[in-house]
Symmetry: C2
Subunit: 157 residues, 2 copies
């Protein structure tokens, strides 16, 4: 006796569906980290991203920050406003193109960065302890390739 035909939908179990599982993992991780940023420094994740990128690359404009943080320009604008208000950021404007801002950390912003960065890296290290060194390298590659592929797929429509 033949087994019944197995259609595609037979296999859609949320708990095995990669996009769903990625989303669950990311949410747990993001909420943990966001909790720390918020509790200890009163920072949101967008603000933290702006700080992190400006610590590395000072004097970027808002759109450049947006590109490097995968945020849209409205999100950057709002994060920048809050960081200016909390005196963690300094803003000047480009002499040659007065639309462009030049953003950099204030000493207070640097200080926040120096205190958060180790926490963030500590969280990551502890998370990745669940994997062997070779698995960590594999994870790197998999995230890379999946992101690239997801971008292609998103671009082609």
């Amino acid at each position: 006796m033949k087994a019944p035909a197995r259609t595609a939908t037979d296999r859609l179990h949320l708990e095995h569906f990669v996009p769903y599982r990625l989303s669950v993992l990311t949410n747990i991780v993001s909420m943990s980290i966001a909790g720390t940023y918020e509790r200890e420094f009163g920072l949101t994740i967008p603000e933290w991203r702006v700080i992190a990128v400006l610590a590395r690359y000072p004097n970027l404009s808002a759109v450049e920050v947006a590109q490097r943080t995968a945020m849209d320009k409205v999100a950057v604008s709002r994060a920048v406003q809050r960081l200016l208000a909390s005196r963690r950021l300094l803003r000047t404007y480009d002499a040659g193109d007065r639309r462009r801002s030049r953003l950099r950390l204030s000493p207070a912003g640097e200080a926040v960065y120096m205190r958060i960065a180790p926490l963030a890296l500590g969280y990551e290290r502890k998370l990745l302890e669940a994997l062997s060194p070779s698995e960590r390298r594999t994870l790197d590659r998999l995230i890379e390739r999946l992101t690239e592929r997801a971008r292609e797929m998103a671009a082609s429509d």
Copy 2:
């Protein structure tokens, strides 16, 4: 001559920070999928999750749905309300415990499921084409272990 001491913060580049990269990947994937659900069926991701789980396990209560979809009960409540309004869900109440709802798909809800499930699985298949079969198995394991570890870490504070 010794190399300069390498402090933890030296290495915090957003583009290598796993939580950030996971978040970027998940956002691209979720937005692609959400776009399809929304365009073609007027469904949000929470609504889709409720449909998916009820297609597999009919007659769950709202809290049971919440557990299986990693959503909180407010999100489930709102998704259920919208699905009831669009006549894709039927709700009765448990005879023995009148607080508990019993949720199941209406024929229209089933029909939506039968049309979306192949699209969702098609997206996943195409995404995973970026990986070899053995890499796919590895990805499965890595997501599993990272999620478990992230949960432990979140629980221990």
